[in-house]
Structure formats: structure tokens, C-alpha cells
Amino acid sequence: MRPAEHSYRTISSIKGPLLFVEKVFSALTGEIVRIISPSGEEREGEVLKIENDTVLIEVFGETKGLDIKNTTVVFTDSLKKIPLSEDMIGRVFSSSFKPLDDIPLPVPEKWAPVTGYPMNPVSRARPEEFIETGLSVIDGLNTLVKGQKLPVFSCAGLPSKEVVAFILRNARIRKTDLFKKEEKEFVIVFGAMGLTFQDYSFFMKTLEEMEAPFVAFINMADQPVLERLLTPRYCLTVAEYLAFDKSMDVLVVLTDMTNYCDALREVSTAREELPGRRGYPGYMYSDLASIYERAGRLKNIKGSITLLPVVTMPEDDITHPIPDLTGYITEGQIVLSRELHQKGLFPPVDVLPSLSRLMQNGIGEGRTRGDHRRIANLLYKYYAKGRDLRRLEAIVGREGLTEQDRKMLEFADLFEREFVNQYNQVAKVSVRRDIIETLDKGIECMKRFRLIGD
């Protein structure tokens, strides 16, 4: 027989976030435990490993203040679950699942395990409906579709924060039927891992200004690393509930996955696991997949989860394990460039290495516009040509180029200034463009060089 809840005071050692408890009668793997410190504070932990009657526990909060003799460990006989309710919309939570607005938690409609379950591949529907971010480089050339996972690869010092804020403010689903009653169909779930206070105030301000309904989870830089590992899982569990139980289209924005991966490495080292490349654990691919793969659509169910994680590439290196493994799982990437940022352009997205693998399905007549594919291909082709010629220009000089080549160079400059850039120098704001404006802008740029007929 298993007792429903049972407590022990038999801790044998404490090491970082790890706790060894001995003489435990019966524990479950993944079981949630409550740890009560001598001063009466409570925190949660999870059973990681069991060997005979010794149990290894990972503590989600601080282990500071715990001792061996007087700390109580309560085994709860349940797995890690969170309460879910539609009333979570519009609220901001901490990474320990406490509301930040001091109003009590909404009454739960159901509880769900945070790790979720893998979607059966045959139940998946193929992503093909367009989501408008308001950014021309994404909408026009690297289109995001419902159910896709598309990361933003940034470098330290680049305005990934501003790009995220822009998308939070401007992302929407294009109504095919304009007269349809406005419903709560589109929700953004925002998860921030390892935020500094400065970033925190920036994002809180953004959330206040947002038009679309949202749910946010915030993990600060000085909060426990294990909570950082939980934050994206909270976000996706809420997203799954809203998408597949409540038929909403959910856009999940996670920033910054680099902080998440560093937390993963820290915890893995504490567990004395074998380190892989650059010290990150060998299972990081599977771990990231357990987050990213939760995006998707299901057949016969209306909702969808679209995932937009932000990754800061350490040392600007796209082959670093974090962006590398991310790129292997996600369906494309949006790459920010230092060069464009230095030119004062926003968003500084480098079109050439950026890619949306699912774009083909989401564009064209009935989704965006009939000429979308053609315009995107032409813009890419001419810009790539222009960029190629920039290298040649550096060697042979502009005089050494043919007239046609010079035209291409000028086009590349114009493309960056007019199409990629959405920052208005005069008004000092970045202006949203809808997909029609984006495509027209593309045509206009090409027309100026007579690269496209009427």
C-alpha cells in the first residue's frame, strides 16, 4: 500500500539544487515533493532518481537555508501539474506560478502535467495558415504559419528585445472573413527566462500596451535556475490548453532560450552527468525538442500553437550548440545581423541566411496574395545578387563593374533601406505593415530599377 502523502526527515546530503533523502518507503519518479525548511518556508522539488530506498530530489526553489537534520520532505504522490483556466488570459505569473498582480489564482478548470505528451505524428495537420507579424522581412520573405516553430537568432547587443516587442504588439491573424464577429481567437503566451530588471520593465511596459490577449510567465535572472527550466513548459502547457481545449490560435514567444540552455547545463553539471559539446548535456537535443515540438496543429481540432523562440548566439556563432540544435529542430530561422543594425535599420534581419521552411504552404491566393511567391523569389534573387556584388566591389571598385551590376548594388541598398527597414526616422517609431503593404513595397522597390514589369 502507498500512503497518499508521507513525510521524511532523513536527508543525507544537500548539493546545489540536489537533495538526497534516505529510507524512503516508496517514491515515484517525477513525483512532486514539498520541502519545508527549519524556518517553515516551503518549496517544491521533483524526484529525479531512486535507488533502493535512497531518493534523489531536484529542488525547484532556493536550497539556501535547508539543513540535514530539521528539514522535512513531504512526498505528495502526484506528478508536476499546473492549474489551467481561461481566466489566466491577461495575467502575468512568476516562474514559481505565482500571479505577479497579487490577485489570487483563477479557479482551475483542469490540471495538466507540465511536460505534456508527444503529439501522434499522424494526428498532426500540416501548417498552412498565415500569421501576420507586421514585419515585411518575415511576412514577405520568411512567412510564419500557424503551427510552425520559427526561432529568431540574435547576437549579444542586437535589438532582439525590440523585435520581440514589435511582434507581441503587432502579430495577428488575418481575417479571411471580415464580417465575422470578433472573438477571443488569437492569444499570445509570452515566456521570459533569466530576465534582467531592465528587460523586465521593458517587457512589462510592452505587455501593458498590447492589444492581443496574452498570458505571461516571467523568470528573473536572479531566480532559481530550475524554475527557468519550467518556464517554457508552463507556457506550452497553457498554450496546449488554450489551443486544443479552447480552440484558440496561440502564439508562444519564448525569450531567451540561451538562458534556458545555460540553466540546463548548470543543472546537468550539478547532477554530475557526462558533459557533451561545450559542456552542454548530451540530451540537449531531446530536451529542446520536448519544448519546440509541442508547436503544431491537429486534424479536426481548430486551435494551433505557433512557437517563436529567441536564441542569442554566443560569440555570434551560428554553429554554437544552442542555435545549432535549435536549427535542427525548428522549421527555419530568422537571423539578425550586426551589420544591418549598425546601419540603423530595424528590424536588422539578414534575409540571406533566414528561412521559413513552411512558407510554401502558407502563401498565395486565398492565404496572402496570388503574386506573393513570385515577388518573394524575385526580391530574394536580386538582393542576393547585390550582396554578392558587394564583395566584388570591395576588390575591383565600383568602376570595374558593369552597369547592370551597379544597378543591382543600388537595389540591394534600397531593399535594405526601404523594404527591410520599418523604423521611421522622423516619427521615431517602427511602423507596422500589413501583408498587402509589404508586397506592394516589394513591387515598388523593384519597379524603381525596372526589375519588374507592370
Binding site: T29, I395, V396
Partner: protein, 538 residues
């Protein structure tokens, strides 16, 4: 009969330590009350270490471990074609019907439908002798004759005819041996054959770059390494669609779920270009996406290859595709590190190379036990971290694979697909296969191939010069060559997987390159006559 043989003593992630009696190494076991599937990976005095293929959360000390007395097996019989399985051969469609769109685990489902009725056509009659490997009859599986193979020698006492199902006896031998329509086979044991034959017939993929420059052979092995975004999956899928094989077994090993959804939808719609039948009719899919349990990912390629061998034994040409082998190797690494084995290079176990080599050896052209010829070809993608080909998985594969089709990130950035690098890739089958093309398609094949290679080589040299002096600084003949090389790259080597051009039969491949090379030779002689390059290109 499943009898309780032990109890759980320890759990750490997917590894379970049990105190059990009577277990054998690599036995398949059911772990805990929720009956999770596992495999015995190590035996020690008084304790056995079990690798569990499912999520172990919620498992507790003291729960039972039951043995099946059998290693991990797949069920082989009619009904495999056009099915979709997970890494343990559970049919995903039926799993969906039973538990909904999310896989919550702990469900045993057989790979074959035992209740389905099949029309059986006997090939032997009462009193006939059969030997091992003989076909005693067949059932019609879609458009294929699914031969049923006798595993014993004897005289047929009686044989069924007409409707059968897989749990019935179909024939009986004089000595009392019962023959069924299906059987089980351990996935880690290669199926036997009489002898291996050299691989020298081409495997036509419909990809010009492969068929013309780096041709593959039936029964051969090829690897397809490339960083992310280089189009591995698209290329694998294109080959799965268009390759000249009877049966295609495709393993999505630790890859994206959305890709699989897309592939399923496409395969339902598309037609096999060689027979004009639905593509799904000849395909078996084994899918273990990246968020499904890691240990089952390790098993998935074995599950799949065993099914491939089964059809090979019927005398079919089977193509085995896996995307990606790196995910399999990573799963192996994860398991190895959970077992606290001594790590080798980059944390991979030192037996990685030998496991890979013995896996590759399951490919080949064989004379089956029954004396027919069947082949199993493999094309496997590899995802080297950071696109760095010096990593252990790529390097281990290179030692055994017969063809190396390197996918190049810089080509992919230029949107040149398939992004196969034509300088670094190679195929050890070229010599034999090119001879075959010379005979069967056209005498000009090898000469054109030689010429095409030379043009591409020369372009590479000239490209460096252009970087310094610009296009204007070249001689007319060199500028012509640059122009021709560009045409070869854009019109011949690139193939858009989303258009009609995605499939190019050998005749068309030949015609295309011939046009370009003939134009080149004509232009060269015009240049000699003093006609200007601008005029020729116009």
C-alpha cells in the same frame, strides 16, 4: 505466458534497475504496472539493468517486471505496406483511434491487424515438397504479391485457399509443423540469406546530380550529411518519392513532427512515377519524432530495417531511407551515458563505429534462402553538429558507406538545391554503374560525364581569378566556360523539389546535359571562327 520475474529496485530516467531472475540479455520486458516496454541491456549478479522505451514518470520502486522471454521483435506479415509505425512497430493510426492525438504511453498494440481478412493464393498443393525459403503461397497486399515463405522443409499435408486471417494456420506439413501468414523476428538479428552478390546495377533516384555524377547502386549504401537548412529531408523525401525501387521503407528518426505530417499528406496524394500507383502503396513509414522517447528512437532503425529485409527476402528491391542517423547515434550516446559506460570521442560510446558498420552490412544484393535475388539499398542522412564533418558519426559512416553525398551550406544559401557539393562528394559505385548506363541508356553517358566534370573543375579555378580581375579580365573562351558552368549549375544540377522537374528519369538527364555540352562545343568552334562571345550567347 508472462510471469512475474522480478521487481524494480531503482529508477533513473529511462534506465530501470530490477532484481530479477531468469532474464536473458536483450530480452524484451514489461516494466511496472503500466507495462512499459523495455529491453534488458546489462546483467549483473542479482540485478538487471533495463532500458525502458517509454516515459518512466510515475514509476515506483517495488513494481513488477515481467519478461516475455523473447528479444525485441517485429511482426512480419501482410499489412505492413502503407502503414505508419512508431519505433516499436505500434501502428500510429490505430493508436490515435484508441487514445487520441497525444501519445500518453504504456499501450501495447500489435504491428499487424490479426482480424483483417486476406485472399490467399496457394502456390503449392497437397503432397508437394517445400524447402526453407520456398514460397508456399501469396496474398495480395495492394498491388504487391506478398509471398509467404516456409521456414521449414517438408511435405505439405494440407493448405488453405481463399480468405485467411493472420492468426489462422494456413498450411500444415506432414511432420505437424504449422505455417502461418506472419511471424516474429528479433530486430537486432539480420535475416539470413544464401550469399551476397556485388552491387553493380544502378539505383535510379531521379535526381540528376546523383544519377549523373554520383550514381548509387542497388544494394549499396550512401550517406547524406549536411548542416541544418541544407535540404537533407527534402532530398531524402524526393528520393523516397521517385526512386526506382519496389518497396520504400522510410524512417523519420528523431526529426520534426510537422515534416512527417506534410510527408504523409503528400504520399497519400502522389503517384509512383514508375508504376503510376499511389505512392503510399509501396511505402512503410516508421516515425519517431524528436519528442518521442529516446530509447525507442534507438530501436526504430532496427525495427525498420528488419521489415525492409523481410520484403527483400521475397525478391523485391527495397530502398531504406533514414532521416537522420545522427539522432540515432545521439540516442545511443544518451543510453550509453545513462549506463555510465566509458565515453569515447565527443561522448559517443566507443562501439559507435562497429554498430554502424554492422548496421550498414544489412544492406546488399543477396541471393535469398529461396534462391531469388533481392536487394536492400540504404540512403541515410547525417546531421553533423555545426555542419562540421569531422565529427564521429560522419567519420564512422565514411568508413563503411559506398557513397558520400555532401550537402553544402554555401550552396544552400545560394538556394542551389539539392545542395550536393560536386567536388567533395563521391560514389564508389560510379565505375560499375556508369558502364551500365553506357550500355542501357547511351554510349555517350560516360564521355558527357567526364566533360561535365572538367567544366565544373575549370570553373572553380577561374572563379578565383574572377575574384581578382573581374569578369571583364577573362579571355572570351574562359568567359564562355563560366557561362556554360553556370548553366550546368542552374539548369542541370539544381532541381526544384516543388515542381515537375523534381523527377528526372535518366533519358531526360542525358538530354539536358547533352544540350548544354553540345552548345558549348558549337560555341567554342564559333569563337575560333572569330565570332564574338556576345553574339554567340545571344
Amino acid at each position: 505466458m508472462k510471469e512475474a520475474v522480478g521487481i524494480i529496485r531503482g529508477i533513473s530516467g529511462p534506465t530501470v534497475i530490477a532484481e530479477a531472475k531468469g532474464l536473458k540479455l536483450y530480452d524484451r520486458v514489461y516494466v511496472g504496472r503500466s507495462m512499459l516496454t523495455g529491453e534488458v541491456v546489462r546483467l549483473e549478479e542479482g540485478r538487471s539493468i533495463i532500458q525502458v522505451y517509454e516515459d518512466t514518470r510515475g514509476l515506483s520502486i517495488g513494481e513488477p517486471v515481467k519478461s516475455t522471454g523473447m528479444p525485441l521483435t517485429v511482426r512480419l506479415g501482410p499489412g505492413l505496406l502503407s502503414s505508419i509505425f512508431d519505433g516499436l512497430q505500434r501502428p500510429l493510426k490505430r493508436l490515435e483511434e484508441e487514445i487520441g492525438p497525444f501519445i500518453t504511453g504504456g499501450r501495447e498494440l500489435y504491428g499487424l491487424d490479426y482480424l483483417r481478412r486476406w485472399s490467399f493464393f496457394p502456390l503449392k498443393k497437397k503432397g508437394d515438397e517445400v524447402v526453407e525459403g520456398d514460397f508456399f503461397g501469396y496474398v495480395e497486399e495492394g498491388s504487391f504479391k506478398h509471398y509467404l515463405i516456409s521456414h521449414k522443409r517438408g511435405i505439405i499435408k494440407w493448405i488453405a485457399e481463399g480468405e485467411i486471417s493472420l492468426n489462422e494456420v494456413i498450411a500444415e506439413l506432414e511432420d505437424g509443423t504449422e505455417l502461418f501468414g506472419c511471424h516474429e523476428w528479433p530486430v537486432r538479428v539480420p535475416r539470413p540469406y544464401r550469399r551476397k552478390l556485388p552491387a553493380c546495377e544502378p539505383l535510379i533516384t531521379g535526381q540528376r546530380c546523383i544519377d549523373f555524377l554520383f550514381p548509387l547502386a542497388r544494394g549499396g549504401t550512401a550517406i547524406l550529411p549536411g548542416g541544418f537548412g541544407t535540404g537533407k529531408t527534402i532530398l531524402e523525401q524526393s528520393i523516397a518519392k521517385f526512386a526506382d525501387a519496389d518497396i520504400v521503407v522510410y524512417v523519420g528518426c528523431g526529426e520534426r513532427g510537422n515534416e512527417m505530417a506534410e510527408m504523409l499528406e503528400e504520399f497519400m496524394k502522389l503517384k509512383d512515377p514508375w508504376t503510376d500507383r499511389p505512392l503510399m502503396d509501396r511505402t512503410i513509414l516508421v516515425v519517431n519524432t524528436s519528442n518521442m522517447p529516446v530509447a525507442a528512437r534507438e530501436a526504430s532503425i532496427y525495427t525498420a530495417v528488419t521489415m525492409a529485409e523481410y520484403y527483400r527476402d521475397m525478391g523485391y528491391h527495397v530502398l531504406f531511407l533514414a532521416d537522420s542517423l545522427s539522432r540515432w547515434a545521439e540516442a545511443l550516446r544518451e543510453i550509453s551515458s545513462a549506463l555510465e559506460e566509458m565515453p569515447g570521442e565527443e561522448g559517443y560510446p566507443t562501439y559507435l563505429a562497429s554498430r554502424l558498420a554492422s548496421f550498414f552490412e544489412r544492406a546488399g544484393v543477396v541471393e535469398t534462402i529461396g534462391g531469388r535475388t533481392g536487394s536492400l539499398s540504404m540512403i541515410l542522412s547525417v546531421s553533423p553538429p555545426g555542419g562540421d564533418f569531422t565529427e564521429p558519426v560522419t567519420q564512422s559512416c565514411l568508413r563503411t558507406a559506398g557513397a558520400f553525398l555532401m550537402l553544402d551550406t554555401s550552396l544552400a544559401h545560394r538556394r542551389h538545391f539539392p545542395a550536393i557539393n560536386w567536388f567533395q562528394s563521391y560514389s564508389l559505385y560510379s565505375k560499375d554503374v556508369v558502364e551500365f548506363f553506357d550500355k542501357k541508356i547511351s554510349q555517350e553517358w560516360s564521355a558527357l560525364r567526364q566533360e561535365c566534370n572538367e567544366i565544373l573543375q575549370r570553373e572553380e579555378v577561374l572563379r578565383e581569378i574572377v575574384e581578382i580581375v573581374g569578369m571583364e579580365g577573362l579571355q572570351d573562351s574562359d568567359r564562355l566556360l563560366m557561362h556554360i558552368a553556370e548553366r550546368i549549375r542552374l539548369e542541370f544540377l539544381s532541381q526544384n523539389a516543388y515542381t515537375e522537374d523534381a523527377f528526372s528519369p535518366p533519358e531526360m538527364t542525358l538530354k539536358k546535359i547533352k544540350n548544354i555540352v553540345e552548345f558549348y562545343n558549337k560555341a567554342l568552334s564559333s569563337l575560333k571562327k572569330g565570332i564574338s562571345l556576345e553574339e554567340i550567347l545571344r
